[in-house]
C-alpha cells in the first residue's frame, strides 16, 4: 500500500459518530453474525485499525434496490462509509466522476490493490447477447470478468446477482445469469433477497473486514449466519401453523386474528432469510407481520415458482393454473377409467371361462386350455 488508508473508525469519527455509538454498532454486528462475546473486541479492533476495504461496486441489470436497502440500515455506519466514501473507488450510481475519470477510478483501484479489493455486484449479467448491458463501450460480462480476476472476493448483492431474479425469469430474453455462473476461481458470496436486508449487507461487509475471509456459506452460497433458517421457522405466526389455524382469504376472520398465511401462498416454509428476526427498517416490521405472505425473494427462481398467492406452484408445460394436484387428480380419474374398462374386459373373459367349465368336470385340465 502506498499511503496509510484511514480505518472505518477514523472515517466515522470525522462524521461525528461518538465512540459509544461506534461500540454499540460493533456489538450489534457481533450479535447478528452470531459471534461470541470476544467477537465484539475483534470487530472493534478491526474497524479501528484496518484500512477501509477498497471496493468496486458494479450495477448491471438491476433496479438499485440493493443500494437503496443498504442506505436504510438501522445502524448505518458501514453503509455510510462504504457508500459515502466509495466515490473514491467506483460506484456507478453515487460517484461524482463520469466518463474517462470514472473508468480511471476503477482501473486505479485494480492497479493499486490487486488481490485486496472486493468486487460488489448488483444485477445480473446478460449472456444471450452481451450488448444488452454495456458500460463505457464494454459489456457487463467483460467488465466483471476483468475486475474479478484480481479481486479478493466477489459479493453478489440481491437476487439478480445471486440467481438472476426477474431478468432470468422465463423466458429470460437476455440470457441473464447470476455472478457465480459467469466467473470462476473467486469466492462469491450470495447476499440473497430482493433486496437483501440492509443489516445483513452491513454484516457481510463487517465480516469481510474483521476476519479477512468470506463468511461460512450454505449450499447456495449464502452466508449461514443470515440464511440458515427458514422464514417459517422464525415466524411469529408459526404457532398458528402448528395449530392448523389458517387465513383462507384476505380480510377474513383468520386474517384479522393473525393466523398463518400458508394457504395464501406464503413461501416462508421454503425460504431461507432473516426477515423474521432482524426485520426491516430498523426492526419495524416484515411482510408477514404486515399481513402479506412471503414471496420467497431470497430463493432461486422465485418469479417462476408459481403465483405469489398460491402455495403450490404451477407445473411448467401444462398451461397456467395447473398444479401438480390438478394433474394428479386427472391422472387418477384416467387410471380409474382404465381400471373399469379392464375389469369389464376381464369379466367377459371370466364369464366365458366359467361357462366352458363342465358341470360335472373331474378330468384334469390346465387353465391354458380353458
Amino acid at each position: 500500500m502506498e499511503n496509510k488508508q484511514p480505518s472505518f473508525y477514523d472515517e466515522v469519527k470525522g462524521n461525528g459518530i461518538s465512540r459509544k455509538d461506534f461500540l454499540k454498532f460493533c456489538t450489534t454486528m457481533a450479535a447478528m453474525l452470531g459471534l461470541e462475546a470476544s467477537g465484539v473486541g475483534q470487530i472493534v479492533k478491526a474497524l479501528e485499525s484496518k484500512p477501509r476495504l477498497p471496493v468496486i461496486w458494479f450495477h448491471f441489470q438491476e433496479c438499485t434496490c440493493c443500494s437503496e436497502s443498504f442506505i436504510r440500515a438501522s445502524h448505518p455506519i458501514v453503509a455510510n462509509i462504504v457508500l459515502d466514501k466509495i466515490s473514491l473507488d467506483y460506484q456507478e450510481t453515487l460517484m461524482a466522476a463520469s466518463g474517462f475519470q470514472a473508468e480511471e477510478a476503477y482501473k486505479s483501484v485494480m492497479a493499486k490493490y490487486p488481490g485486496e479489493y472486493i468486487v460488489m455486484v448488483e444485477g445480473s449479467i446478460p449472456t444471450e447477447n452481451e450488448a444488452y448491458c454495456c458500460i463505457g463501450g464494454r459489456s457487463a460480462l467483460q467488465i466483471l470478468q476483468e475486475a474479478a480476476a484480481n479481486a479478493k472476493a466477489v459479493v453478489a448483492w440481491g437476487n439478480c446477482a445471486s440467481s438472476g431474479c426477474v431478468q432470468a425469469a422465463r423466458p429470460n430474453p437476455t440470457g441473464a445469469k447470476p455472478v457465480h455462473k459467469v466467473i470462476s476461481g473467486k469466492p462469491v458470496i450470495n447476499v440473497q433477497g430482493c433486496p437483501p436486508i440492509a443489516d445483513v449487507m452491513a454484516g457481510v461487509v463487517v465480516h469481510l473486514l474483521t476476519f479477512d475471509r468470506i463468511p461460512q456459506l450454505d449450499g447456495l452460497g449464502r452466508p449461514k449466519a443470515f440464511y440458515s433458517r427458514r422464514v417459517h421457522d422464525t415466524c411469529y405466526r408459526r404457532a398458528n401453523f402448528d395449530a392448523g389455524l389458517f387465513v383462507d382469504s384476505f380480510d377474513d376472520e383468520g386474517a384479522k386474528r393473525g393466523y398463518c398465511l400458508f394457504k395464501m401462498g406464503c413461501k416462508g416454509p421454503v425460504t431461507y432469510n432473516s426477515c423474521g428476526i432482524i426485520k426491516w427498517n430498523d426492526g419495524v416490521s416484515y411482510p408477514i407481520q404486515s399481513g402479506h405472505p412471503c414471496i420467497g425473494c431470497s430463493e432461486e427462481g422465485f418469479w417462476d415458482n408459481g403465483p405469489f398467492y398460491q402455495h403450490l406452484p404451477n407445473v411448467k408445460g401444462f398451461g397456467i393454473e395447473t398444479t401438480a394436484d390438478k394433474i394428479g387428480v386427472g391422472l387418477g380419474v384416467a387410471t380409474a377409467v382404465g381400471i373399469a374398462g379392464h375389469a369389464i374386459l376381464t369379466n367377459v373373459r371370466k364369464h366365458r371361462e366359467i361357462a366352458n367349465t363342465p358341470e360335472k368336470g373331474s378330468e384334469t385340465q390346465t387353465p391354458k386350455e380353458l
Binding site: 427458514r230 421457522d233 395449530a243 392448523g244 389455524l245 416454509p269 394436484d325 379392464h342 375389469a343
Partner: protein, 240 residues
C-alpha cells in the same frame, strides 16, 4: 355344481420378512399420502380460536415424519433382503437385464393388460412386468426419501437428515424440492390404485391365491408350471 381338478402345489413364495415389509410399507404409504396431502393443502377448519388451544396440524406433521423414518428404514431393510432372501425376493428379479425377462414383459402386456391372448404366465413370484414396475417404484421411493429428508434437514440437527443436506442446493431450493416431493406423491397414489386392482384381477383370473399369499406366504402353483420352473436350463433369474 361346476368344478374341476387341477394338479397344484403350494409354494412358499413370500417369507415373513417380505410380508412384514409389504404391510409396513403399505401402512406407511397410506399414512404418508394422507398426511402429506393435508400438509400440502391444509383445510382451514377452525376459526375464532387461539393457537394455544390447538396442535392438530403439528400432529399431522409429526405423523408424517414418524412414518417417513419408518418407511425409510423399512425400504433399506427390503434392499438388504434383496440380497439375502429367497429366490423370489432377490434383486435380480426386479431389473430386466435378461432377454427372457423382456420376453415375459411383452407376454404379460398381451395376456393381462390387453387380454388379446390367453397364454399362461409362468412366473411363480412376481411376473417380469410387475417386478419392473416395482423397480420403478423403488426409484420413486428413493427420490421421495431424498427430497423428503432434504427438506427435513432445515429443522433437524440429527445425523440422518444431515446426510441429505446436499439435495436442496442440488435442485435449486426448497421450493423445487417440495414440488418434486408433491408430484411424486401422486406416483404413489396412482401405483396403489393399479396395484390393488391387479391383485383382485390376478386372484380372479389365475386363482393362485395371490391376495392371501401376502398374508400367509404360500401360493398355489400349477404342477406343469413348477415342472418347467425346475427343469429350466436358460439363464433366466431363478425366482422367475
Amino acid at each position: 355344481m361346476r368344478s374341476r381338478t387341477i394338479p397344484m402345489r403350494e409354494v412358499h413364495v413370500w417369507e415373513l420378512p417380505v410380508r412384514l415389509y409389504h404391510w409396513i410399507n403399505a401402512l406407511c404409504i397410506a399414512a404418508l399420502c394422507i398426511t402429506g396431502y393435508l400438509i400440502g393443502d391444509p383445510p382451514a377448519l377452525m376459526k375464532g380460536t387461539e393457537a394455544y388451544h390447538n396442535y392438530w396440524f403439528g400432529t399431522i406433521r409429526f405423523v408424517h415424519f414418524v412414518s417417513s423414518f419408518l418407511f425409510f428404514f423399512n425400504f433399506l431393510f427390503r434392499i438388504y433382503w434383496g440380497f439375502t432372501g429367497n429366490e423370489f425376493s432377490r434383486w435380480y428379479n426386479f431389473i430386466p437385464l435378461k432377454r427372457c425377462q423382456w420376453k415375459e414383459i411383452i407376454n404379460v402386456i398381451k395376456v393381462d393388460v390387453l387380454q388379446i391372448t390367453n397364454k399362461q404366465i409362468d412366473s411363480i413370484g412376481h411376473n417380469s412386468l410387475a417386478s419392473f414396475v416395482y423397480f420403478i417404484t423403488f426409484l420413486i421411493f428413493l427420490l421421495q426419501c431424498l427430497t423428503g429428508f432434504g427438506m427435513y434437514t432445515a429443522m433437524s440437527s440429527s445425523f440422518l437428515p444431515k446426510l441429505f443436506a446436499w439435495v436442496v442446493p442440488f435442485l435449486g431450493g426448497d421450493m423445487q424440492v417440495r414440488q418434486l416431493h408433491h408430484i411424486l406423491m401422486w406416483g404413489f397414489i396412482l401405483f396403489a390404485m393399479v396395484h390393488i386392482y391387479l391383485v383382485f384381477y390376478h386372484d380372479y383370473i389365475e386363482r393362485r391365491g395371490v391376495t392371501s399369499s401376502m398374508i400367509g406366504g404360500w401360493k398355489f402353483i400349477e404342477e406343469d408350471v413348477i415342472q418347467r420352473h425346475e427343469n429350466k436350463t436358460d439363464d433366466c433369474p431363478k425366482g422367475f
